[in-house]
């Protein structure tokens, strides 16, 4: 009997193995080929330390490594793994981070990469020399020093423990540059490329394309799989879709709208693979706290209660790049709000009639008359601003408000928000890593991006507490308190619906995993092209 069951088990194991073999064989990376991808924006300079557009990350990131990176296989895009760092330790008090660097890493000019280069790069980011820009100095205010005690060790010393520190070191912008070059000319990297990454620089024709070729001396032996890549700059979305449809490009790493996805799937059938993920970008409504009646939290709460986010998500996801209802963190990521808790927040309960009755009561209590009229300013960008704006107006109409929408040209939008020239406006935020510190800092009273101009010491304190919490569960608890204060008790802003990232790409593209950020996973070291 025992022998028979052993035989059956062996047989099952053999079948499972046989079934899995072709798949495994299929997934064996193929070497060679040139990946062509579309970039809808362009790099103003080549220096990642001072830029903020994916137009730089997409073509330039494959030339560089960072100290840490976000695990390229992790769909949540929240797990730091070593890139140039092989391992690291954190002191018990959370104030000293010691990184051991990989051996045998060479710059594209053949010189060795050492801790001196990491230190020089971070010094440039944190304390840029006169005349050199760095957009991220503020993210490292906790760092007192970066030290390089030996060629393969880097030590970061902190003033206070910071939960987001490791992920901050995995920032895709923090390219490691060569120390000698920075010392000679800290602006050299604005117009030149020279890193340790999987691809070396070939050419950039402004407005047209960017080409990279395989680095034969890459430290991660066997990688990259591709012979090279070519980024084509295409601004018009119709031309981007045409490029994929006409197989002039394999992929566009930012994202397409649902109708564009459907068009490509219909035209190319199984030649297209679609990857989707909640996107670390979100539109929210900013209320100007110094303008009446939006200085009254009852009014702000009413405007949030009026929104049927669940029905809105179902309808809008068919036409634009929004899909899931979430709180202050991207759904499906470690600090995301559990659905049961989300439903307790104002405007997130599933009984919309009850919510709207409460909204009307609050408006009445605040002395806002039926048919009250105000202007909602929106950014003149088709996706998802325009459809989401129209949806908002319809929702507010249903509690008796008469809202006029005014579109402001995209380029003039930020200055308008900064001037505070609005009553109610569409605001947005897009992160490069899903991390509460990065996503919530704009709601701190002193933040330059606090366009609604609220002053809330409780939010400031909660932000600081979650940032310094070293225990994950404790941090989650503080984030939930902050979320309740921000979206419910004070309703400083009203979140709409989480963006949804849609990447329809050629089925030949393998080894690339979508994440919630279009700034991540662009090193291309593990990407390969099937036959």
């Amino acid at each position: 009997m025992q022998r028979r069951s052993g035989l059956v088990l062996t047989l099952i194991a053999a079948i499972v193995l046989a079934a899995s073999l072709p798949a495994t064989a299929q997934e064996t990376p193929r070497r060679g080929g040139e990946l062509t991808f579309v970039v809808p924006s362009q790099p103003p300079t080549y220096d990642g330390h001072q830029e903020e557009t994916f137009g730089l990350i997409h073509p330039v990131a494959p030339h560089y490594n960072t100290l840490l990176r976000v695990d390229p296989t992790d769909k949540t895009g929240t797990k730091p793994v070593g890139d140039l760092a092989e391992s690291w330790t954190i002191s018990k008090d959370g104030l000293v981070y010691t990184f051991k660097l990989r051996h045998g890493v060479k710059f594209h000019d053949g010189s060795d990469m050492t801790s001196k280069d990491v230190k020089a790069s971070y010094d440039k980011i944190m304390k840029p020399p006169a005349g050199v820009k760095s957009l991220r100095a503020v993210a490292y205010q906790t760092v007192t020093s970066v030290e390089a005690p030996d060629p393969h060790t880097v030590v970061f010393k902190l003033k206070w423990p910071e939960s987001s520190f490791l992920l901050n070191l995995a920032s895709p912008w923090n390219f490691i540059y060569k120390a000698d070059i920075i010392a000679k000319d800290p602006k050299w990297y604005e117009t030149n490329v020279m890193g340790t990454g999987p691809f070396t620089f070939v050419e950039h024709v402004k407005g047209s394309h960017w080409v990279g070729k395989k680095n034969p001396n890459y430290w991660d032996k066997g990688k990259p799989y591709l012979d090279g890549y070519r980024a084509i700059f295409i601004s018009a979305s119709a031309a981007q879709v045409a490029a994929i449809r006409g197989e002039r490009a394999h992929i566009q790493f930012r994202g397409f709208s649902p109708p564009e996805r459907d068009q490509l799937v219909q035209a190319l059938g199984n030649k297209i693979t679609v990857q989707e993920s909640p996107w670390d970008c979100l539109n929210f409504v900013s209320f100007h706290h110094e303008k009446k009646p939006f200085d009254d939290k009852r009014v702000r709460r009413a405007l949030s209660l009026a929104l049927d986010r669940y029905a809105g998500a179902a309808a809008l996801s068919k036409i634009t790049i929004v899909k899931e209802v979430g709180g202050v963190q991207v759904p499906g990521t470690p600090y995301a709000t559990p659905p049961a808790e989300l439903e307790k927040l104002a405007g997130y309960g599933k009984d919309i009639n009850k919510n709207r009755a409460e909204a009307k009561r609050l408006l009445k209590e605040a002395g806002v008359p039926d048919g009250f009229s105000f202007t909602f300013k929106n950014r003149g960008i088709p996706h998802p601003y325009e459809p989401v704006g129209i949806w908002l107006i319809d929702q507010w109409r249903q509690i008796g408000l008469n809202v006029k929408q005014e579109f402001i040209e995209a380029s003039a939008y930020h200055p308008m928000l900064k001037r505070g020239d609005f009553e109610v406006a569409m605001d947005f935020q897009c992160g490069f890593i899903v991390e509460p510190d990065l996503d919530l800092v704009r709601f701190v009273s002193t933040s330059d991006a606090n366009y609604g101009r609220h002053k809330d010491a409780v939010i400031d304190d909660l932000y600081s507490r979650q940032a310094r919490a070293t225990d994950i569960e404790e941090r989650k608890k503080v984030i939930r308190q902050l979320e309740k204060r921000l979206l419910d008790d004070e309703a400083h802003v009203a979140y709409t619906i989480q963006w949804n990232r849609i990447i329809p790409h050629s089925s030949k593209v393998k080894g690339w995993t979508i994440t919630p950020s279009h700034y991540l996973n662009n090193q291309l070291d593990s990407v390969w092209l099937a036959e």
């Binding site: 362009q42 103003p44 300079t45 830029e51 903020e52 557009t53 994916f54 005349g131 820009k133 957009l135 503020v138 604005e190 117009t191 024709v205 402004k206 407005g207 047209s208 394309h209 084509i232 700059f233 295409i234 601004s235 018009a236 119709a238 031309a239 045409a242 490029a243 449809r245 006409g246 197989e247 002039r248 490009a249 035209a267 970008c281 995209a410 380029s411 003039a412 939008y413 930020h414 200055p415 308008m416 928000l417 900064k418 947005f428 935020q429 897009c430 992160g431 800092v441 704009r442 933040s447 330059d448 991006a449």
Partner: protein, 317 residues
């Protein structure tokens, strides 16, 4: 004639100065500035202190008149400065795109002239016959059809019928003529068709006018053959207004193919113009406007020379 041309030549400079003044001050009326856009990025969080520092670096903290004087001084030395968005020299940004825009303009002009002159002459000769009606329908359709729309139709046709798309990256003609033509022939046809419609109608009406002149009647009375009347007397005189239209359209095409360039993803001056405006890249916008205005002014000057050559009344004035 020399006096006439000298006068025309020196009139170009006040025109350019006028363009410079209007462009410089008008672009600054639009809300938003390059620094805010450049540093605001997608997340938008940047300190006022950082913005002030960056504005000072570009000289945007100086009074407007001072900025204008500095810029005009540079332009007088043919130094247009650097792009405020990319930091690259302006001339480098323009040079990259100029050859493509120039080639499309030339190809579209060739398409337009090849269509317009024979069709216009034919329509005039066969006035009020089916030939005339057919040409008029063809040209009115051309006027009514935006080039970018025709471009989209071309692309869809190529994609759906031939499962093929023109190359998305520009290859200079001298590097690979075949690939270059594969990319540029489609925009040249789309733009050339609309352009030919304007020129066809102008050729037809100019020919009709000339054919009714006394000297044509005299030539016919002398017994000259129709071919000679047309080529030696009618066409030469009818070409004056047609040349003006063709030349002005050509100048327009240098920087005016904004949407068509987007449809075909052509890295030309039109697209650069749009990007410069969207980025509020003042120095680049100013340089591009000066370039396009310069093209118009030079084309006009060349036309004045041509007029003087073709029309003895101007030559002997």
């Amino acid at each position: 004639m020399l006096k006439y041309l000298t006068k025309r030549f020196f009139l170009m400079f006040p025109t350019l100065l006028g363009v410079a003044i209007v462009t410089f001050f008008l672009i600054r009326v639009i809300p938003g500035d390059v620094v805010e856009l450049r540093m605001g990025g997608e997340s938008g969080a940047v300190s006022q202190e950082m913005l002030a520092k960056e504005r000072a670096r570009f000289g945007l903290d100086q009074p407007l008149w001072k900025q204008f004087v500095v810029w005009v001084g540079g332009v007088a030395r043919l130094d247009f400065g650097r792009s405020m968005w990319t930091g690259a020299p302006i001339w480098e940004e323009i040079k990259l795109r100029l050859s493509l825009s120039l080639q499309v303009a030339i190809m579209a002009t060739v398409v337009a002239v090849l269509l317009a002159i024979p069709l216009g002459v034919l329509a005039a000769l066969k006035q009020d016959t089916w030939v005339d009606y057919a040409v008029r329908i063809f040209s009115i359709a051309g006027l009514a059809t935006p080039s970018f729309w025709l471009g989209i139709v071309f692309i869809l046709m190529l994609l759906i019928v031939f499962k093929w798309l023109p190359p998305m990256v520009y290859t200079p003609f001298w590097q690979n003529p075949w690939q270059n033509m594969q990319q540029l022939i489609w925009p040249a046809l789309a733009v050339g068709y609309r352009y030919s419609a304007v020129a066809t109608r102008m050729t037809r009406s100019a020919m009709l006018e000339v054919l009714r002149e006394d000297y044509i009647r005299t030539a016919r009375a002398k017994g000259l053959v129709q071919k000679l009347i047309l080529s030696r007397h009618a066409l030469k005189n009818a070409m004056l207004p047609v040349m003006t239209v063709v030349a002005l359209e050509f100048a327009f095409l240098i920087g005016g193919l904004v949407v068509t360039e987007q449809v075909f993803n052509l890295n030309g001056l039109g697209l650069l113009f749009v990007q410069a405006v969207a980025h509020r890249d003042y120095t680049l916008i100013q340089a591009l406007v000066m370039l396009v205005s310069g093209c118009f002014i030079v084309v006009n000057f060349v036309m004045d020379i041509m007029y003087a050559y073709l029309d003895p009344r101007i030559r002997y004035r």
